[in-house]
């Protein structure tokens, strides 16, 4: 459990920590979109350097980010291999049935790989530097327009907040139930897959029961405290947008212009090389 970096918050006070969560979330989503607009190697390099700079700015050790990618590395390599094996073009090095290894395929593979890694890095930057509760506020803000099509955004956000608040409780309770089962002689992590899954049943059932009880009790509390779905309510937590948040979004515009130039330059070089 302690190994999972993606989704965790590291307290600190870097520039990125101080940015408004709305600015951070918008910028990150935009950046991920931008990754699909890159057309050539120098574009990827450009965005990669930018990502590294942001990682530096967060003042979180590089190792932390690398550990964040690790649990997903097999997934990434799998996706990369698919891209490599099914993309033809350029010089063909190897060909067997539907599988091709070509120069073009290898290049695509490298692009896919770096795109994935950058997506993970950027999302990790956001979660490492933003408290989960601030992140929910930002999500609430971004989903706000959905209210006009009668989607209960506030309920959804409250649900998310409560879920976040219960993760530590749930982990705690899991530990307790596991200890109780251990005391009865269960050894976890032994036996074949079926046996191991069987051992999970006496953990999941009590957890389920206690979660249901808790949910019911909490619904009561919310009711007596006057929470009504769809009723207008004020918010204790106030986000404040400052100049540096606007600057952050401006930065994204500048980044896009830079990328655009790099894309164009390559086309120019291509045209030049033809003539």
């Amino acid at each position: 459990m302690n190994k999972l970096i993606l989704g965790r918050y590291f307290p600190g006070n870097s520039v990125l920590h101080q940015l408004d969560p709305r600015a951070k979330l918008m910028a990150a989503l935009y950046f991920i979109g931008l990754l699909f607009y890159v057309e050539n190697g120098q574009g990827y390099l450009y965005l990669f350097i930018f990502t590294l700079m942001m990682m530096r700015l967060s003042r979180v050790a590089l190792m932390t980010y690398i550990r964040g990618v690790k649990p997903l590395i097999w997934l990434i390599l799998f996706a990369t291999c698919l891209r490599v094996l099914f993309t033809g073009g350029g010089t063909v090095y190897f060909n067997m049935g539907p599988f091709i290894i070509s120069s073009f395929g290898l290049l695509t593979g490298i692009y896919t790989f770096s795109r994935f890694v950058m997506i993970i890095f950027v999302s990790t930057i956001v979660t490492l530097t933003t408290k989960p509760i601030d992140l929910t506020d930002a999500i609430s803000f971004l989903l706000h327009p959905l209210k006009y099509v009668k989607i209960p955004v506030e309920d959804f956000v409250l649900m998310l907040t409560i879920a976040l608040r219960f993760i530590p409780n749930l982990l705690d309770e899991t530990q307790k139930v596991m200890d109780a089962q251990r005391a009865r002689g269960t050894v976890f992590g032994e036996g074949n897959l079926l046996q191991q899954m069987k051992k999970l049943v006496p953990i999941i059932l009590p957890l389920f029961a206690s979660s249901l009880n808790r949910a019911e009790a909490m619904a009561d509390v919310m009711e007596v405290k006057g929470y009504q779905s769809g009723k207008k309510r004020s918010s204790f937590r106030q986000l404040s947008w400052s100049r540096r948040d606007s600057l952050c979004l401006m930065g994204m515009v500048v980044l896009t212009l830079g990328l655009h130039v790099l894309n164009e330059v390559n086309v120019l070089l291509l045209i030049a090389s033809i003539y």
């Binding site: 509760i133 976040l164 009790a217 309510r233 918010s235 204790f236």
Partner: protein, 271 residues
Amino acid sequence: MDNPPMLCVDQVTYRYHVTKSHYALSDISFTVNAGEWLAVIGNNGSGKSTLARLIVGLAEPESGSILINGKRLTERTKWQLRQRIGIVLQNPDNQFIGTTVQDDVAFALENLNIDDHEMQERVFRALRLVHMYELREKDPSQLSGGQKQRVAIAGVLALEPDLMIFDEAFVMLDPKSRRELLALLRELQAKLGLTIISITHDRSEAAQADQVIVLKDGVLIDHGPPAVIFEAHPDFTPPFAEQLKRKLIELGGSMPDAYMSEKELVDWLCR
């Protein structure tokens, strides 16, 4: 004296399962005037918490009626009437809605759509009163049972309702803070004409009340000023864990000062 009583419970009967003949409350009637303090005492399972749930409209009586400020509590009026009631339920664990201490205290105020400046002021003031201001950014997993109870009490204080209900809300507090908070409530009661209903096993807490009702197996068996009630019910006993603890201290053991639930006591003794 034309004002209707703050709370009027009239021949209320309730059972959890309509198919069973066991009544959690049968034929309960009493009134509490505005500005009064009522203590509810009785053994485990006597129906005290059930009564509290009925008063805030979490459950509806099978027969009889509950009037708050002269208005009858029904499915339709409960939302409006609740705005003037603050309650601390028995279990502090499942009462924590917010992600942090201050968010939790603000929750009821947010629902009343109070503007953020006033809200912050009220939340901070309430947190200072229960000595939780320094811990306002903490999340519930970092708090002890007593601290969670303080947060729940702060939630009610910040709401500034006309009627406050505490269901064994002070049991996990250390004796000093408990005394402090009870004194504070006493003060608020006198100053603002606050009405308080406190469900308790603590004799000194019940002694602060203007009147006491005694429940036994869902029946109201006595009603009167504390001195009279204590005289008539010398067997009015604190919960088992508390009794055991006192006995042990009497026998010369050294025990932590704070209140402990049965489970905590067992854990402590087994150490």
